[in-house]
């Protein structure tokens, strides 16, 4: 399935992803709403999150093979290097793995907003780690 080129991908966007993005944006301060842009076969979500004291700019990419391949989220705001941060300030949100059991992403149940919420949780952990040196989620260690 190619997200922006195939009929199945377009139906997924129109019936699942876009409605949940619009619901997320509804009543939200415009500075924190999700904006979209197309980048080849990839759909890019750009947004800001404020998990605690700081505001972070982020982008989540729905690659052409989304949703079978999980979205990729990176923080555009400069971060201090930490163990759960991959190359290009990409967040380690789903366990990296090729098998069903090895990945936390579930294309049958998760939408792109789940990725946004996961990024919020990651950033909240980052702020705790920044102050204490401890990542507060034991299962991520």
């Amino acid at each position: 399935m190619s997200l922006l080129d195939s009929e199945a991908g377009k139906r997924r966007l129109l019936s699942v992803e876009i409605p949940v993005i619009e619901r997320y944006n509804e009543g939200r301060d415009p500075a924190f709403q999700i904006r979209l842009s197309r980048l080849g076969g990839t759909l890019v979500l750009r947004y800001c999150l404020k998990p605690g004291h700081n505001i972070y700019q982020l982008e989540t990419r729905l690659v052409s093979s989304y949703p079978t391949v999980p979205p990729e989220t990176r923080v555009l705001t400069a971060l201090k290097h930490c163990p759960h941060l991959l190359e290009g300030q990409t967040l380690c949100l789903w366990r990296q793995g090729s098998t069903r059991a090895g990945s936390r992403w579930d294309p049958a149940r998760f939408t792109c907003i789940f990725a946004v919420q996961a990024a919020w949780r990651w950033l909240a952990c980052y702020e705790v780690w920044h102050e204490t040196g401890e990542w507060p989620l034991p299962e991520a260690k």
Partner: protein, 272 residues
């Protein structure tokens, strides 16, 4: 006689294909397999060392015709997900009686599931667990649970590995889970189960009801994962009412209307 469409003739797919095509019910096969036979395949494959360097699809055709000269074998030596070959794959799916998925990666399984649902075909899937500690066989029929329903259910209800978390201090480092091969004996056992279920499903897809939709057969005892070896677990996975893969949601019926609606929706949300 039935037309079988199979994706994958690797170490798991080839024995399934071999066993299915020895059955007189199968009269025609279309095989989707883009890979070339490599030296590391020899240990677990049916083909000899002398075949290294040959396309697996061609080797499979020769193997089958040596045993069933009457069999019609069509080859699609392409990647299942390659957009350039979707028309040919669609034609093959439309004409088949049953599908067999022996793909070894998740995107290909979802792609196959979508293909089979689009053409309303019954299909089966075999999966050997890392290290050969056991394996799954799943069967699917039109209107039943999709691969997304099954994968989502099993992800939550079954533990099939007990590996440490990746080393997050080494982002981009090797992923250990993909480096534990299964033995030929383990692969053959799950392939035999896969072939049996496929042949039974082929007899009457509409009424096939073995009491499960997915079967897990353990082959080894693994502490904290499987209590004992050679134990079958039968799962009756329902179609999930909230599955984002297979549950129909209202969208425009024509492709043109779909494009217009999507463009309008994206325009509302695009960067200013």
């Amino acid at each position: 006689m039935a037309h079988l469409l199979q994706v994958g003739a690797g170490s798991g797919g080839m024995p399934v294909l071999d066993m299915l095509c020895r059955d007189p019910k199968i009269g025609r096969v279309t095989l989707i397999e883009p890979d070339v036979y490599k030296p590391h395949n020899v240990e677990r494959h049916l083909f000899p060392l002398s075949a290294v360097g040959e396309p697996k699809a061609e080797l499979a055709r020769c193997w089958l015709l040596e045993r069933r000269p009457d069999l019609v074998v069509d080859l699609l030596p392409c990647d299942l997900c390659d957009p350039a070959h979707q028309d040919a794959i669609d034609v093959a799916a439309a004409g088949c009686d049953i599908g067999v998925c022996a793909a070894d990666n998740e995107p290909a399984k979802y792609h196959w599931d979508a293909l089979m649902r689009r053409h309303a075909k019954a299909w089966t899937l075999g999966e050997v667990l890392s290290g050969g500690i056991g394996g799954f066989v799943h069967w699917f029929v039109p209107g039943g649970p999709c691969y997304g329903c099954v994968a989502s259910h099993l992800k939550r209800s079954v533990k099939v590995e007990n590996e440490p978390s990746p080393d997050y201090s080494q982002p981009g480092g090797p992923v250990r889970e993909t480096t534990i091969p299964a033995s030929k004996a383990s692969i053959q056992t799950i392939a035999s189960l896969h072939a049996l279920i496929t042949l039974a499903l082929l007899d009457d897809p509409a009424r096939y009801s073995p009491g499960f939709t997915s079967m897990l057969l353990t082959l080894q005892r693994v502490p904290e994962v499987f209590d004992e070896a050679f134990r079958p677990y039968r799962f009756r996975v329902p179609r999930a009412a909230d599955c984002l893969i297979c549950q129909a949601r209202p969208t425009p019926s024509s492709v043109e209307e779909l494009d217009v609606a999507l463009d309008q929706a994206l325009a509302r949300l695009e960067d200013a």
